[in-house]
């Protein structure tokens, strides 16, 4: 078997594995997140309420950053699978999962830092 096919096979296997492991992490995170959300939205949601819970809270920060990193692995691989299946001849579309990964990492971490610090000003 040529090395080119070989390394693609190893890559496919590792991507599958990474997506399933991150899925296990997300299973836990999403379940917890749903509970937190149902608790938090009672009677409406304000910034003050959110920040009151998250500001300076290391547990929340670590939990949500883990959540962001799990999404970072899970979502782009899922998107890549869908694209590969439905647009097999458009290899250029690979830019979309990378873009999604960048957005999740940057915006997600920004969100975690934001709610942890409660604002760093403009």
């Amino acid at each position: 078997m040529s090395t080119a096919i070989h390394s693609s096979a190893v890559l496919q296997a590792k991507l599958w594995y990474a997506q399933r492991i991150s899925a296990m992490v997300l299973g836990l995170c999403v379940a917890i997140h749903l509970f937190i959300m149902f608790y938090a939205i009672r009677g409406g949601l304000t910034a003050g309420e959110i920040l009151g819970r998250t500001q300076g809270n290391w547990l929340f920060a670590i939990f949500y950053e883990v959540f962001v990193l799990a999404c970072l692995v899970h979502a782009p691989i899922g998107l890549a699978n869908i694209l590969r299946e439905n647009f097999p001849r458009s290899s250029g579309l690979i830019v979309l999962p990378w873009a999604l990964a960048a957005l999740i990492l940057v915006l997600g971490t920004a969100a975690v830092i934001g709610v942890f610090t409660g604002g760093v000003g403009r």
Binding site: V30, M37, G43, I50, V68, L103, A111, G114, V115, G119
Partner: protein, 119 residues
């Protein structure tokens, strides 16, 4: 003269296919939503007032409907995903039809719970 028939809805009319499609569509829509969700929350970087300014957008009923949709989609994707993990990593016990029913019921409950709590 026409082309031979291909797999159509009749081939796909079974429960396992339905939950596969629901899991895939929900994942896709959630992936599209996630950057927006993170962007909104990241406005907290600029202080509580800035975040509140964006949170006010969620008062529009159209946004509330969207949020209800997202909660439902998230639950479908969660339970459908756990079902897949059971299939791929658990002891083999068939296509886990029970989990499909749970996915449908729990996601409906989840959506209703959101509507009840969000007023």
């Amino acid at each position: 003269m026409s082309s031979r028939p291909t797999l159509d809805h009749r081939a796909k009319s079974h429960l396992s296919y339905f939950i596969y499609m629901a899991h895939r569509v929900s994942g896709l829509l959630l992936a599209c939503f996630l950057p927006i969700h993170f962007f909104l929350l990241s406005q907290s970087l600029f202080g509580a007032d800035e975040l509140d300014h964006y949170l006010k957008l969620t008062d529009f009923w159209a946004v509330k409907v969207g949020e209800w949709g997202l909660v439902t989609l998230l639950t479908i994707h969660l339970v459908g995903g756990v079902r897949l993990l059971m299939i791929e990593f658990g002891t083999w016990r068939g296509l886990r039809k029970g989990w499909i029913q749970v996915a449908i019921i729990v996601s409906i409950i989840s959506g209703l719970l959101f509507l009840a709590l969000a007023g």
